[in-house]
Symmetry: C2
Subunit: 181 residues, 2 copies
């Protein structure tokens, strides 16, 4: 087939200024004690791509400015709004009080497979946990829903930034059909 | 809600031996000159999670054993079958001759949005390109289909390992409804 790659100009990406005033996907991503700043940077880049409302960095999660974050965020720390909380619980309580549905991504006794979940809310918090320990146990009672990505391999789970990409893609697809993003 | 995290034992993941004899998703992933061994390791982990047929490493793409691959593959180089080719074209031609549909992941004049694509084949090659340059131009005429992930941010694209996770998840979901994985 006759085919040509699209340049950055042809892709017509928004500037940081016009991104800032764009309608966003009504989703706040919370990183609960994510250890690797490379993973944090990768979340910035994904939150930029899917035009998310905000990225919350909590606990030991690194914050900009940070060299390792920059390596994988490649500048998206300028476009994505972010906020830091000392504990993930503070962030969860703040958004719960504002009427956000609190959704944890974790393999639990109550998890719903990601592809089986129907989005019924238009204000959503998605929490992703530490690379080794996952979501902090003490957060589990505060969740309204727990989602997991069905998987079939030998390992416990996916990389957290890859997992984030999959979940945010699924929400972007579904919310895109019901509201403007 | 009453909720408890699942341990690795409770998740009942297959051993490397039983994974080896499991039915796999009929998808071969080809990495075309991927520069970062961390990204390669991440693809190993995702290919394990979704039980893919094979991971092809081509050109400058690093191969196991490799310390950086191990950091992100965390052992999945043992479960996922892989093969090295000097050039991506050799791999593409081999699988094309075996009746595989050749699908490139790239933003081009002919790209189909990932969520709009209907899978009609049961032998598929998915090619992911270099972090900076994307798919090599010379490969484009060999593609049967080109797919892209719709995105709305300021940056050119997603991280390649995150992009891989999203595409493989979408194929796993769709193929899971039509064949055994």
């Amino acid at each position: 087939m006759e085919i040509k790659k699209l340049s950055l100009a042809e892709l017509q990406r928004p500037s940081v200024e016009s991104f800032s005033s764009m309608d966003k996907m009504p989703v706040v991503v919370v990183l609960d004690n994510v250890r690797s700043a490379l993973n944090v940077g990768s979340f910035f880049r994904t939150c930029d791509a899917f035009a998310l409302e905000k990225l919350v960095l909590a606990g030991i999660t690194a914050t900009p400015p940070n060299r390792e974050i920059n390596k994988t965020a490649i500048g998206s720390t300028e476009s994505v709004k972010w906020e830091y909380f000392n504990t993930t619980l503070e962030a969860v309580l703040k958004y719960k009080n504002q009427g956000y549905k609190i959704i944890g991504i974790e393999q639990t006794t109550q998890s719903v497979p990601l592809d089986a979940y129907t989005i019924q809310d238009n204000k959503i918090v998605l929490i992703f946990g530490n690379e080794v320990n996952g979501l902090d146990e003490y957060l589990l009672p505060y969740l309204d829903v727990c989602l997991e990505i069905p998987q079939y391999g030998t390992k416990h789970s996916l990389n957290v930034a890859v997992c984030g990409g999959i979940v945010l893609w699924e929400f972007a697809k579904k919310l895109n059909n019901s509201s403007k993003i």
